[in-house]
């Protein structure tokens, strides 16, 4: 059953249970405003949710009750018992409907109207007479006939978060206790029996830790569950046709985070449909397909989840936005003249701006993009727009993966260890790097990296500890401040990368302004999580926004950008040093070697439960002996992704756009000089095309397999999944439908060899018929059937038909 619906039902039932007492108490003391409010809120919530879920009966009932109650709330009058029992009857009916919805039965629409009428009548009478007991109408409390209905298949319980956190803490305690026990056991030498028992315990604890962590995590695609329904309803309402595409991520994020993103996302989708996508007539006139396209996708990028909503509507009219912003007083004429195109577009996020020409029922009621942005930012996310007037709008939301577990870097300053969220760090360099020059002017530190100047501060100075003397270069971290302007935080050393469970620190610690929380790594030494934005503030770094003449600098930067681009340098498995455009690399990941698979000449890498194509395999002699993981570049062009195994990643460098094209071959686009060395530049296009070609070939493959006997269990449960897995399109044969040219018919050879192949195809299957037999041995020399568990032969036969078809 629809998860949203079951959640609604569960919530409603829970509230109903809680409210029964409230109603009774209200009856005892009708003047109790708090209880009245509580009741009102319940009906209000039900009405709101069921309008969304399209449950008209719930809506009618709750609407009527809400109406009556709101009258009492505003009128200050005291509800009489008759009205209250009428309200109770409505609540009972809602409860029955819940059970019906849950079990999938339909409850006869007997007397909802009667109930509502009774309620209204009670209310009217009470209002007219303000006397008790006059309107004791027949309430016909709809009896408990629904109570015995079947329980739903999948049951859930809702738990307070505190309980789960306690559980998580308990498990962490167990892990620490286990580690201690392990140390003690090792100290006592080998005791096979004890060790085996300990191993078992250890495995149990690890399993338990995983399970508990999962209780907080949820698949990202739950975000999209409500979308198809909403798009359907809205497009009907607005008379638009919309082709919706949803690409769910295979990543999981914190439940709390999912809840926080649902609302802004819903708002964005509504906006897209309402203001973005045009009516079919307008689209025809603009030379676009009648159906507007709306594409939602979610994927993981580093430590963030990126959620994109892309439509091909009219985009945002920047001039209209500017005009609105001026009218609303959000900006002044002078400001506008200084703004870049993107900044003008971002005015959409200013309070009180809507691009709707008129206020519609769907959106444009003043709850604008400013609220959306505020909601996203509240959870540490970022929202950005890319608009192409007349061609569409792309909105991307980036949110941190989870509120509680983050990838962090452990660093050392003044002999103390600290952690910093990896997402705050843009780049790490050693101060011995020739690309960096540090200057001190009047006590202020400035670091110049590749021609860009940054404010710089030593962490030791901020926290007031002496700088530890140690050999080797210091590490400079380019980190993001709260305003988004990066600065350099210098530390003794960046030690390693760890997944950290972040917990809030005590107020007295947070008051220092430089910490974001604390964490307990596996070594049992508590560590503080640094707040990059806070440090900049405490250190009073001048992180001023770009000034007026920054426009020129920006153009400069743009020029430079045109002449060069950042590229990731890496060593191929075969030893060559190559570079690839950094923007193509989504992230770098270590993948266990055994997850790199080659089949049918194509190489794929298993990531989670998906297979991602890879341009080349990993041969055993290419990885160091004993190595269990291979470094992979995850490359993405927005639609297609691939996994590129490499020997090692070297560095990020600015690579000139101009290169020596004479060296072009295969996936290599040409040669460039980086620091006096020749580096081959990987041609992203050729790379994608190579993999895409392989995929396209596969896409062309689906031959329709028509399975003759749809009732046969084996056909249904074993054969069909096998064929689908192999990429074939599986159909069940209907007697009245002749097989199409090119279809392959699969027939199970029975005892009598009943290959009553229809439609004139010879019984021997000269045409595309594959006969399967249940016995391993053929029935005789003339038996051309295939043993049904001989997968190779079956797929072989299918692909030979396939080949024939293609030649034909």
């Amino acid at each position: 059953m629809d998860e949203l619906l079951s959640e609604f039902v569960a919530e409603t039932q829970e509230s109903l249970e809680a409210l029964t007492n409230v109603v009774v108490a209200l009856e005892a003391d009708p003047s109790d405003r708090a209880r009245l409010d509580q009741l009102f809120r319940f009906f209000h919530t039900v009405k709101g949710s069921c309008g969304f879920l399209n449950l008209p009966r719930f809506e009618r009932l709750s609407h009527a009750a809400e109406d009556v109650l709101s009258d009492y709330r505003t009128g200050g009058a005291v509800p009489d018992p008759a009205t209250i029992s009428a309200v109770l009857a409505v609540m009972d009916r809602i409860g029955e409907l819940c059970v019906a919805v849950d079990s999938g039965d339909s409850l006869p629409d007997r007397n909802d109207e009667h109930l509502i009428a009774t309620l209204r009548h009670c209310h009217e009478v009470a209002r007219a007479t303000r006397e008790e007991g006059k309107a004791r109408a027949d309430m016909s409390p709809a009896g408990g006939d629904a109570a015995s209905r079947a329980a739903p298949a999948s049951r859930t319980v809702r738990l307070p978060l505190v309980l789960i956190d306690q559980l998580m803490n308990g498990v962490s305690d167990m892990v620490l206790a286990r580690n201690e026990l392990a140390r003690k056991l090792r100290a006592q030498g080998r005791q096979p029996e004890t060790d085996a028992a300990f191993e078992r315990l250890s495995a149990c604890i690890a399993d338990m830790r995983d399970t508990i962590s999962k209780t907080r995590m949820q698949r990202v695609d739950r975000l999209f569950m409500a979308i198809p329904r909403m798009v359907r309803d809205l497009s009907r309402e607005l008379g638009k046709t919309i082709a919706l595409g949803i690409e769910g991520g295979d990543v999981e994020m914190d439940r709390e985070m999912v809840e926080m993103v649902i609302d802004p996302l819903t708002h964005i989708v509504r906006n897209s449909i309402d203001h973005g996508i045009e009516t079919p007539a307008e689209r025809r006139a603009a030379g676009k397909p009648e159906a507007g396209s709306l594409r939602l996708s979610a994927y993981q990028s580093g430590s963030q989840i990126v959620i994109e909503v892309v439509d091909d509507g009219r985009g945002i009219d920047v001039d209209a936005v500017v005009a609105k912003a001026l009218a609303a007083g959000a900006v002044s004429e002078r400001d506008v003249a200084r703004l870049s195109e993107q900044e003008r577009l971002d005015l959409v996020f200013a309070p009180g701006i809507t691009t709707a020409r008129q206020v519609t029922a769907v959106s444009g009621r003043g709850v604008g993009m400013d609220i959306v942005r505020a909601n996203i930012e509240r959870i540490g996310g970022v929202i950005s727009l890319t608009s192409e007037p007349g061609r569409g709008l792309a909105i991307s939301i980036r949110v941190p993966l989870t509120l509680t577990i983050i990838p962090g870097l452990v660093l050392n300053a003044g002999g103390l260890n600290f952690a910093i969220p990896r997402s705050a760090v843009i780049e790490i360099l050693h101060d011995s790097n020739p690309a960096v020059s540090v200057a001190r002017l009047g006590g202020a530190l400035t670091a110049t990296i590749r021609d860009t100047r940054y404010s710089m501060i030593d962490l030791e100075e901020v926290i007031g500890v002496p700088m530890a003397q140690r050999p080797g270069p210091r590490s400079l971290m380019l980190v993001r401040s709260a305003s988004g302007i990066p600065y350099i935080l210098a530390v003794s050393q960046v030690e390693n990368h760890e997944e950290l469970v972040i917990r809030p620190a005590a107020p007295v610690v947070m008051a220092a302004g430089i910490y974001a929380g604390m964490t307990l790594p596996d070594n049992g030494q508590p560590m503080l999580l640094l707040d990059a934005g806070g440090i900049a503030q405490v250190a009073r770094l001048p992180l001023v926004a770009e000034t007026v003449d920054a426009g020129a600098a920006r153009e400069d930067a743009a020029d430079r950008r045109a002449a060069s681009y950042p590229a990731l340098r890496f060593i191929e498995l075969t030893g060559e040093e190559r570079a690839i455009r950094l923007s193509l690399v989504e992230r770098v990941e270590d993948v266990p070697v055994e997850q790199v698979l080659t089949s049918g000449g194509h190489c794929r890498v298993r990531i989670g439960d998906r297979l991602v194509p890879s341009p080349h395999p990993v041969r055993a002699d290419q990885v160091p002996p004993g190595a269990r993981v291979v470094t992979c570049l995850r490359i993405r062009d927005g639609v297609r992704e691939l996994c590129y195994p490499v020997h090692a990643v070297v560095d990020i460098s600015e690579v000139p756009v101009e290169m020596d094209l004479s060296a072009r071959y295969g996936i290599v686009a040409g040669l460039v000089l980086i620091d006096g060395r020749q580096v081959e530049v990987v041609d992203g296009f050729a790379l994608m095309a190579a993999v895409d070609g392989a995929a396209a070939e596969e896409a062309a493959r689906p031959v329709r397999c028509v399975i003759a006997d749809a009732d046969d269990m084996w056909n249904r449960e074993i054969l069909a999944p096998l064929l689908m897995q192999a990429g074939y399109d599986v159909r069940w044969r209907r007697q009245d439908e002749p097989a199409d040219e090119g279809d392959v018919l699969l027939v199970t050879a029975g005892e009598q060899d009943a290959v009553a192949a229809p439609d004139g195809n010879g019984p021997d299957g000269e045409k595309a018929v594959i006969r399967l037999r249940a016995h391993a041995a053929p029935a005789g020399p003339a038996d051309t059937s295939i043993y049904r568990y001989d997968r190779e032969a079956l797929l072989g036969a299918l692909s030979s038909f396939d080949g024939e078809r293609r030649r034909a």
Partner: protein, 149 residues
């Protein structure tokens, strides 16, 4: 009705802490220092999977002037408690006794040291000795505000 008190010493002064505010008394072997915070925050300490914010009661009450003694190898006693959802360890000199006291708190008598005045809520007698009654929650509340000042 009697109240159960934990009798301890802070900066050489006998104090009584209500046991319903206390989770446990632990001996902390080491703390990880927290730079950039007021001196009475001694650091963080892990107790199994919990992280305690360790507050030195003597420094908090007497002020930064009373230099904290070097951390002894044997560890220091800390009263563990939970205030506002955060776990704290309140460092004390030592713990003497736990006893139920039937008599209600006595008012303060004599000229109380300025440092103790805001914290002492009364006096209880145990074993013939007087103890200041302290509220841990209030003490730690002041720990935040003392820092703001």
């Amino acid at each position: 009705m009697s109240t159960l008190y934990l009798f301890a010493r802070i900066a050489g002064t006998a104090v009584a802490l209500r046991t319903d505010e206390i989770e446990a008394v632990v001996r902390l072997k080491e703390v990880s220092p927290v730079p950039g915070v007021p001196p009475h925050v001694a650091g963080l300490s892990a107790l199994r999977s919990r992280v305690l914010t360790v507050v030195d009661a003597a420094t908090l009450i007497m002020g930064a002037a009373s230099a904290a003694p070097p951390w002894p190898d044997t560890g220091r006693y800390a009263v563990m408690c939970d205030v506002g959802g955060h776990s704290y360890g309140l460092l004390v000199d030592g713990v003497d006794d736990i006893a139920a006291i039937a008599t209600p708190p006595l008012p303060l008598c004599g000229r109380v040291d300025r440092a103790w005045e805001p914290h002492a809520q009364g006096v209880v007698e145990n074993d013939g000795r007087s103890h200041f009654i302290l509220s841990i929650a209030r003490l730690l509340d002041q720990c935040g505000s003392a820092q703001a000042a």
